[in-house]
Symmetry: C2
């Protein structure tokens, strides 16, 4: 049974934002003006799943049988080199999709960071629905293009920014991706460990820790707890992030 409702008040609220309580189709309803008929049909294919922290959604090289739509929690998406070096290519939160880019096999692994709830679609079924629904396809294209733009920004970060600029950028952008917001306007929730932040930013855990300490010492932020940071001077942090000297 499909049911569209507003996001709970502790979530990011953006214009026209709706979430399907069953399959978390926020992404589609946002960017595609998806009709009720499409939403209902999509909903019919969905299968709800819960995963504990640490469990894998996909593994690099596995046949891509399912696509996923995250309903709650957070997920790390990454690729590994032969010797175990890891690059986290993105974090996913409620409303995000996983698997759209996959061909026959996944080119990446994905694991739950926190306990996660999601909707699972058989890839073949999903694809045939997409093929019949132009508005859905347009929405997916739009979404892919946004992800591509984000990927290009991440290349700038990884290729040309200093450690401090990477951390500043990360702290400023994370909240806009994660609809689960803690207390205040400038509070950043960090569901991921230091090691995951490091592997996302192309750094080591020690460097992440040191830079956070330095930013704290400079009065730009406060470490409310290990997993919660309060940005005290957003403007200054933004200047750091962009390398405005």
């Amino acid at each position: 049974m499909i049911e569209i409702k507003s996001l709970p008040t502790n979530c990011a609220v953006r214009p026209n934002e709706q979430i399907c309580s069953n399959c978390g189709a926020r992404a589609l309803s946002v960017c595609g003006a998806l009709g009720d008929a499409d939403l209902a049909r999509l909903d019919g294919l969905a299968e709800r799943v819960s995963l504990p922290a640490g469990d894998a959604l996909t593994r690099e090289g596995d046949p891509a049988r399912y696509l996923y739509n995250i309903t709650s929690g957070s997920v790390r998406v990454f690729k590994l080199l032969a010797d175990g070096r890891r690059q986290i290519t993105g974090f996913l939160f409620a409303g995000d999709f996983l698997g759209l880019t996959a061909g026959e096999a996944f080119a990446f692994s994905a694991e739950a960071i926190e306990p996660v709830t999601l909707c699972r679609f058989k890839r073949a079924e999903y694809r045939s629905l997409v093929r019949e629904s132009p508005s859905l396809e347009a929405a997916l294209l739009d979404r892919a293009n946004h992800e591509l733009a984000a990927a290009h920004n991440q290349m700038v970060l990884l290729g040309r920014k200093t450690a401090q600029e990477r951390i500043a950028t990360f702290l400023l952008e994370l909240p806009s991706k994660d609809p689960a917001r803690p207390g205040g306007e400038n509070t950043v929730r960090l569901p991921m460990s230091r090691s995951e932040i490091a592997d996302y930013l192309g750094l080591t855990i020690e460097t992440v820790s040191r830079v956070l300490t330095r930013l704290k010492t400079q009065g730009l932020l406060r470490l409310a707890s290990l997993n919660e940071i309060v940005v005290l001077k957003p403007a200054a942090l933004r200047r750091l992030a962009e390398g405005d000297v």
Copy 2:
């Protein structure tokens, strides 16, 4: 007037590969099984343009009036930080598209590396054609997903690979993107300067130069000229690229 023909013999030939001599619509005909009707209509919107080396196709922030389809030559796509640091997010060659990811404004700059010929489409016209042609839209989605996968690989390179691994990866992948092939199987054409290679790989020109010299000294490759490299030991290079210790 539309005319579909095989790629010239000095180009990469892949299964089913065709190129529209007027608009270079290789990409679309390859991945989308685009019908003649769509191709013809696409062709009707195209406007041929030639650019000398160094000229800009787009600038970051400019309104996105046109989309481009490269017919010959090569293009650098990049983003800049405030202080001038540059990250090249990709090189484009014959058959590649530019501007699909753009919203109202370009989020990147693009400049000709060599003299370039291209087809230009008014973005609004192109979009309305896409909206009416499901097969075209599907082809674009497919293409966007491939680019996204490539972007993730580049994140691994930028975030976690050593200078030597980056160069090795670059030399192995470049020929598969560039249909203009020089002499032999293992010859890599480098239309771009050392500075552009550096900005693509997140390195400096000195490091690029030193690593190439080292690989030459180790007998893995030969610098036929400044812009042409012969890979002597592809297998060894591949091992380096993947960090197989």
